[in-house]
Amino acid sequence: MPEWLWIFIKVFIVVNVLMLHVAYVVYFERKVIGHMQARLGPMRVGWHGLLQPIADGIKLFFKEDIIPSNADKPIFYIAPIIGLLAAIGSLAVIPMWEGFSIADINIGILYILALSSVGSYSVILAGWASNSKYSFLGGLRSSAQVISYEIAMGLSLVGVMMMAGSANLSDIVRAQSEQWFLLPQIVAFFVFLMAALAETNRAPFDLPEAETELVAGYATEYSGIRFGLFFMAEYAGMFVMSALAVICFLGGWSGPDFWIFARVPGIVWFLLKVYAFIFFYFWVRATLPRYRYDQLMGLGWKLFIPLALANIIFTGLIKLL
């Protein structure tokens, strides 16, 4: 089989599985948060609402696509697509199990960081192109937030790269075969966790779309499937960030090495860890209030970036000794 065909098949599988994942992660979120709030979540469509995401998808697809008359149309059209492409594109370098990643490149971490920055363009451009003040404020907030937290996230991953001696994600996982980086890099893990929440615009850092302040932030003027694309981008982004956390701190696809656990394929461990992470996202959302914009900035610049820098110095010192 030619190489390109094999890559094409891999892309096809990954993208389709991801799309299904996005649909069901929304369902998962509604169920988790519902039960945490002493209610049931979706129950109507299918058994325990299992077909709800499909119904939602169909509904979004057939809804009228309203475009504000004063919107900057080309940018308005393209913004959600950028977001989704950036989120899906990040998947290319993620190793799901030993030897499986679409593009096993040496700068995997940098590639993901770069694409998540591109993803923030979709939010900024959407906010700008909608020609609505709420969208505009949401876009502004998002740009500031992404810039600040990108730095913290990048710096927190530097420690991991130093430990592994590589920016290739598969190599990072292999470097953790003896010990996960969770404990030695606990500070970096904490910073990464917070930055990932901020990067994916999740509570308590969901300021760009803060419902009670900015209605729906950058997505206020979007409707129908364009809104759906933003939605998919957000959940795909969450998957990517969780996968990155699992790869960099929790040993990727590796699982316990005894008894029948040793026979369980790596993908299962990988997905289990990723979903535990995603569950944590929902759990936090169900519990915490939202930060204020200036407090969020202060937190990023005054706490997370110094912490990440200190972690780099500390890791470096340990390495030297």
Binding site: V32, G34, H35, M36, Q37, A38, R39, L40, M43, W283, V284, A286, T287, L288
Partner: protein, 184 residues
């Protein structure tokens, strides 16, 4: 900042407590109800759709058309039309309630000296037009048969057609005698 406070701050104790609470709720049964399939009985006396009391003796409405309910209704949604029959008795030709205007205060029940109108506990009704929710005398009597049949209607009037003598301290009839009011 004491050491205790410092530890609490660094280890997110208060946030962990909150997370523990939500996680505990995740595993406790939910309190909501699957409404259209799973219904709660309304409590007796719940103020819902109107009904005209059917007199068991005559089989007709108890209403005599005095119009007090219409006078009392704060949203003026009751319309009564009466006429005189051959015996020079008052007959209620039309008794109509514009349900869409009603505010469900149940003052009509209180205003009625005969106990001829009640609010049933039926609250799930809807329609595609105003006419569907314009209740005529026959429909209101039908409501009584449907929702207040058997002893339910009697119990309702017993309990919610107020005030009654027992609600007053002094027997109101004796009041005037005690004052020794002189007829002029």
């Amino acid at each position: 900042m004491t050491a205790n406070e410092f530890i609490k701050k660094v280890f997110f104790i208060e946030i962990l407590k909150g997370l523990a609470l939500t996680l505990r709720h995740f595993f406790t049964p939910s309190v909501t109800r699957q409404y259209p399939t799973e219904k709660r009985e309304p409590f007796p006396g719940s103020r819902g759709l109107h009904a005209l009391v059917r007199d068991p003796e005559t089989g007709r409405e108890k209403c005599v058309g005095c119009g007090l309910c219409a006078a009392m209704c704060p949203s003026q949604c009751i319309h009564i039309y009466t006429s005189e029959d051959d015996d020079h008795k008052k007959v209620v030709d039309r008794y109509e309630v514009e349900v869409l205007r009603c505010v469900y205060c149940a003052f009509c029940v209180e205003a009625c000296p005969y106990g001829a109108i009640v609010l049933t506990d039926h609250f799930e009704y809807s329609g595609y037009s105003r006419e569907e929710l314009y209740y005529t005398k026959d429909r209101l009597l039908h409501n009584w048969d449907k929702y207040m049949a058997n002893s339910k209607g009697r119990e309702y009037l017993e309990k919610f057609w107020r005030p009654k003598s027992e609600d007053f301290g002094v027997p109101a009839a004796g009041h005037h005698q005690a004052e020794g009011k002189k007829a002029t």
